[in-house]
Amino acid sequence: MGDEHMWPPLTSRQLGRYQRQMVLPGVGLDGQRRLLASRVLVIGAGALGSAAATYLAAAGVGTLGLVDGDTVELSNLHRQILHDTLDVGRSKTASGAERLRSLNPDVTIVEHSTFLSSANALDIFRDYDLVVNGSDNFPARYLVNDAAVMTGKPLVDAAILRFEGQLAVFRPGFGCYRCLFPAPPPPGAVPDCAQAGVFGALAGVMGSMQAVEALKILLGLAADEPGRFMIYDALASNWYRMPLNRDRACPVCGEHPTVTALIDYEAFCGIGESAVPAEAPSTRAQAVSIAEAQALLQDPGVSIIDVREAHEFAAGHIPGATNIPLEQLDRLASTHDPQKPLLVVCAAGVRSAYGAEYLESRGFKAWTLSGGFSHWQASGQDWTAT
C-alpha cells in the first residue's frame, strides 16, 4: 500500500460511497485512502474466494488479484457466489472479475487465469500486500503458505468441509500454516468437498471472515494481536478460538528453516506421480499391491473386508468382498475365525491401513490393499456394484 503520500485522494463520489465505513473509529478518510492503495491477492475464485473478494471489493481495496485456473461448473453454484448460471463453462477469473468490476469500478481486478505453482507463486505474490487463501487442496495450501512466508506477506487462510470452517491469520514473524499443521493428512484420510459435501452458506461466513481479518490488517486495526486460529461449527453455531504461536522448529518460518525455496507440493502431500507411495499412514499392517493381493486371493481361505461406508460399497467393490464399515470392525473381531486371513480394502488405502492394524492387534492376519478400491478399479480389475 506504500507510504501515506502515495495514497490517492478521494473523489466526492468516493466520499459518498464509503461514507459509512469511514465513520468507523480507526478507518476515517486516511483509512479509506489506505484501502484504495492496497493490493490483495485472492487465491481461488471458488467458494471462499467469492465471499472474500466480494467484501474486499465492496470495501474499496484498490487492487484485487484473482488466481484460478478453473472454469465454472454447475456444481459450484450453490456456494461460489461470484458466478451464476450463465457463467458455467467460463473461466472463473473472467467471471469473477466481471462481477467485481460491476460491484465497484474503483477496484482494479487483475486476472491470473492460471493455477498457482512453485514456478509462478513468488512472482505473483511480490506484487501484493496481503494474501487471502481460498484454495481447495492441500498441495496448494502448503504452497501458498510457503510463498507467503518467503515473500513476507500476511496470510489470511480458511478452509471448509461439511459444516465446519477453519480460519487462521498468519502475520509475518508470528507463525505460519506449518506451525499449526506441519504435515498434511495422509492422502485419502480427509475427504474433500466433492466427497463429503459442504454447506454453501458456510463458505459465505468463512470467506467474509477472511475479508474482515484482511481489512483489519490493511487498516492497522488490532495490529498488536499475534496470529490466531478459529474454528466455526455451523451446526452448533459455535466459534472456538485457539492461540497460534510460531514454532521455533518450523521448517519454513522457524529459527533454522530447512525449506528455503518452493518445493514439489504434490509430492510433499503424497499425491501424484512423484509422490512417495504409502508415505502415511505408518501403521503396523502390511500393505500389498494389486498383484500381491491377487496372489493372496488364490487362497480361498482369505476373506476380503471392505471398510468403506455402505453407500460407497454399493457403488462398486471387489467381487466377493464383505462390507463392514470401520466403526463396526469390533463385530468382525468377535465373530470371525482369527485363523482366517483378511485382505482389508477401502477407497484409497488409508482407512484400510488403520483397519488392518486394528485387526492385527486383535490377533488376525490382515493386509491392507495399497491404493484401495480406486486403484483396483483404475487398473482394470474386475469389480461389481450392488
Binding site: G46, G49, F138, R141, E164, F181, A183, P185, V198, P243
Partner: protein, 90 residues
C-alpha cells in the same frame, strides 16, 4: 471431567459425537477411552511409538502440544482437549 473435541470428519466416520466428556486422567487414558468407545480409533490418533500422529494438532486447555508429542501428558480436571487436523475445502 475432561472435554474432548474430535475432528468432525473423523467423528462422523466413526459415527460418534465430535464433542465428548470423559474422566481420563491423562492423554493415554483418553486415547484408550476413545478406543474402547470405537475400537480402532487409537490407530487414527497415535503412532506405534505412542506419539500423536504428525498431521494432528493437539491443544490442551488452550496450549498447543509440540508436534508428535507423546500421548501421555497429564490432564487436569476441567481440561479442554482439541484434536485437530487440517481440512482443505475452499
Amino acid at each position: 471431567m475432561i472435554t474432548v473435541h474430535l475432528p468432525i470428519d473423523l467423528a462422523g466416520q466413526f459415527k460418534m459425537e465430535a464433542v465428548l466428556n470423559t474422566d481420563a486422567g491423562d492423554l493415554r487414558d483418553l486415547v484408550a477411552h476413545l478406543d474402547r468407545m470405537r475400537p480402532g480409533m487409537a490407530g487414527w490418533l497415535v503412532e506405534a511409538d505412542g506419539r500423536f500422529r504428525q498431521h494432528l494438532s493437539i491443544f490442551v486447555s488452550g496450549r498447543r502440544l509440540e508436534t508428535r508429542s507423546p500421548a501421555s501428558g497429564r490432564l487436569d480436571d476441567g481440561a479442554d482437549v482439541w484434536i485437530l487436523r487440517a481440512v482443505s475445502g475452499g
